[in-house]
């Protein structure tokens, strides 16, 4: 398996997700599909909502892409932005607002030294000049009970 297929390995697993402000927000399971050419994310929020996404390495464009489907019928697409500091990965996409404008939407996943992963989701309405943090959470690996 070429090294570029391993960029998301740190995120594979079963996670409990807590907002940085404290409360639990949901559970997420990240699993490799078909030998690792794609990863499947299965999100269940504490509010009962579900989402599924795929991360996949798209050879024609030589980059990782993501497609995200929620139970509200909303589909988001992002692609990997290379070269993040601190070993993190960042996916960014554009969301048409329907009035001609586009919202930039980016997710940054950063593995922390204590084994947690931090997920920050930010949006920009000015082409990436300024960003608003919309989501900030810690992923805590679910401990398998013996």
């Amino acid at each position: 398996m070429p090294p570029e297929l391993h960029v998301l390995d740190f995120w594979v697993g079963e996670w409990e997700v807590f907002l940085v402000t404290g409360p639990k927000d949901g559970d997420n399971r990240i699993a490799k599909l078909l030998g690792g050419f794609a990863l499947q994310e299965s999100w269940t929020g504490t509010d009962g909502h579900e989402g599924k996404s795929w991360f996949y390495f798209y050879r024609p464009e030589k980059r990782w892409k993501q497609i995200w489907v929620t139970d509200g019928g909303f589909v988001k697409e992002k692609a990997l932005v290379e070269g993040q500091a601190e070993g993190g990965v960042r996916f960014r996409g554009e969301i048409p607002l329907g009035d001609g404008r586009e919202l930039l939407d980016q997710t940054t996943l950063t593995p922390l030294p204590d084994g947690r992963v931090r997920q920050v989701i930010e949006q920009s309405l000015d082409g990436g000049v300024t960003w608003q943090t919309g989501y900030d959470a810690y992923y805590v690996r679910r401990v398998k009970k013996p």
Binding site: V17, D25, G26, L33, L34, G35, F37, A38, W43, G45, D47, H49, E50, G51, K52, W54, Y56, F57, Y58, R59, P60, I67, W68, V69, T70, D71, G72, G73, F74, V75, K76, I95, P96, L97, G98, L103, D105, Q119, I121, Q123, L125, Q132, T133, G134, Y135, A137
Partner: protein
């Protein structure tokens, strides 16, 4: 946190993981188009036009019915999966397929006269290959999946796969 109104509106749509405020998340109901591919949901035995086993396929509804997950097991031992969903912003269906050989297809399209027609293209050996897959629900509950390819810009099409789906008992 105080967000601009436009960000709040979009944020409510974006995802539950991106819920921006502490208020309960209220997601919009599914667009009616999200139901258009439901005819493909099920556990299927798939045969070639001459009746030989081609494989089995399990199509599951995911994310509260907003998408479909395909789980293909080919009679030759290979396998593949696809994620399908209606993208309301782009007014199209989208499919991402990944095969056990790592091959990935990105397809998009719409329901046309009752047929789900998804197309895509990619480069292979320096040539452009166009893909067109048509799913047709038949009155008897079976489904036909006809996959065609063109290497001359869509002038002529060759059948790559012609699968006849019958629900497993």
């Amino acid at each position: 946190m105080k967000m601009p109104q436009s960000l709040n509106l979009v944020g409510a749509l974006i995802s539950m993981t991106a819920s921006l405020c502490a208020q309960p998340t209220t997601l919009p109901s599914l667009p009616p188009e999200s139901r258009q591919f439901d005819f493909w949901i099920g556990e299927w035995a798939v045969t070639t036009p001459d009746g030989k086993p081609a494989g089995t396929n399990r199509i599951e509804a995911i994310a509260g019915g907003a998408g479909l997950l395909e789980n293909w097991a080919d009679a030759d031992g290979s396998s593949g999966k696809s994620l399908n969903a209606y993208n309301a912003a782009k007014k199209q269906w989208q499919q991402t397929w990944v095969g056990s050989n790592g091959g990935i297809l990105e397809l998009s399209g719409t329901l046309v006269n009752g047929h789900m027609v998804l197309t895509g293209e990619h480069a292979a050996g320096g040539r452009r290959v166009m893909e067109r897959i048509t799913w047709t629900p038949n009155p008897d509950g079976t489904v036909r999946q006809h996959w065609e390819q063109s290497t001359d810009g869509g002038n002529t099409w060759q059948t790559a796969f012609d699968g006849h789906y019958r629900k497993k008992k």
